[in-house]
Symmetry: C3
Subunit: 156 residues, 3 copies
């Protein structure tokens, strides 16, 4: 059974964001029901005496990692770029219980990229963070793949 297998868990969280300077309706604070798919790759444990026999990772452990690293921080938060107007940011901080200030525009693309950076440090040795899929709406999503970024891309 010595094969590389990918395992995926789906998570969901409710989050508001603002797209600073965007020329569409998303420039205003608004929320989405995000869905995050986390995919790891590895060789399942092959050891009858190991309680994790047959698993790349115990789904319970994967869930714990993703909850601690991503969901517990971003669920029911409003995410704003540090470039955002200071006065408006103050108002948002007053109005929302949980404001997360990030150093990037919080588009679906940049969020999934940030989540990958956070998660990659938490995955146990011998297992690879293979890809993340982040649904922003029911019919649109962004994805980060380790394989797409193994060689540094030239900037756009």
């Amino acid at each position: 059974m010595n094969k590389i297998i990918r395992v995926t868990s789906e998570f969901s969280f409710e989050m508001a964001h603002v797209l600073n300077n965007y020329d569409g309706p998303c420039r205003n604070v608004h929320g989405h029901s995000y869905r995050l798919f986390v995919t790891l790759a590895g060789i399942p444990v092959n050891d009858v005496g190991n309680p994790k026999n047959g698993m790349v990772i115990d789904f319970t452990e994967l869930k714990k990692i993703v909850l601690n690293t991503i969901i517990n921080q971003f669920d029911h938060s409003v995410v704003v770029s540090s470039d955002f107007d200071r006065e408006k940011l103050g108002m948002i901080k007053n109005a929302f219980g949980n404001t997360v200030v990030v150093d990037y525009q919080p588009t679906c693309e940049n969020l999934v990229s940030d989540f990958a950076e956070r998660l990659v440090k938490e995955i146990p040795g011998g297992i690879k963070l293979h890809n993340l899929r982040l649904f922003e709406t029911a019919r649109s999503y962004a994805e980060w793949f380790a394989a797409d970024n193994e060689f540094p891309p030239t900037s756009r």
Copy 2:
């Protein structure tokens, strides 16, 4: 944040087709509720002054391209191969308001291949058409991937 990210939008359209000479029930005119997933890959804009900051492509622009190139032509149409019997084709053209004649058997496989050829020309520079997924029924689909076809395959 200088990472390659994939973005996907889902579309749907209602379409009838005929599979000429097929040895199953699909040889008769019949319809499906197709769902098309269009995936692009690129590096999100990293420029605070750009209204598209943080985006590979504005989802609004992606939708416009797919609607203009695919959906507006194929939605509520009947698609028939140019090999089809001329007399029957005439009858179909009379019976259906919107007949699209293509130079291939309109299976899910050939349709997704044709859609890729049409879309690849419309994607803005610096962004790659990564793959298309076309659901013909709720539980079956065909996919075209750029990477599968980068080197000309030998014919079957």
Copy 3:
């Protein structure tokens, strides 16, 4: 149209399993509604005279292969490892109408790996078994990809 296209069909089956020695609730016999996605890759037939013109494989043929090779054996069965305690196995065999004994821990990872081994032998020439996705719950799944396993991995 001489392109490589991937085609996928979705299947579902109800199955119970036991994870021997596992340190969680799955050590008891319990069931899931599994969903299996089978993806093949090939060049669609390009021959007007062939009834399968435009197809990588007739979806009807793919369904027949997967039903015969996987679904008919595992649907409404209980799957147990041959390492399992002999006495308990006897009790399970008495209690369940259809017991499948396998030589591995029946996790989602090992099941999808086994299904790949079984299916790869049944796929017609010229077509490749590209990947399998097996949902164990509505929000978690394991995947086997041919490309991940083309070069023998070092053991864990």
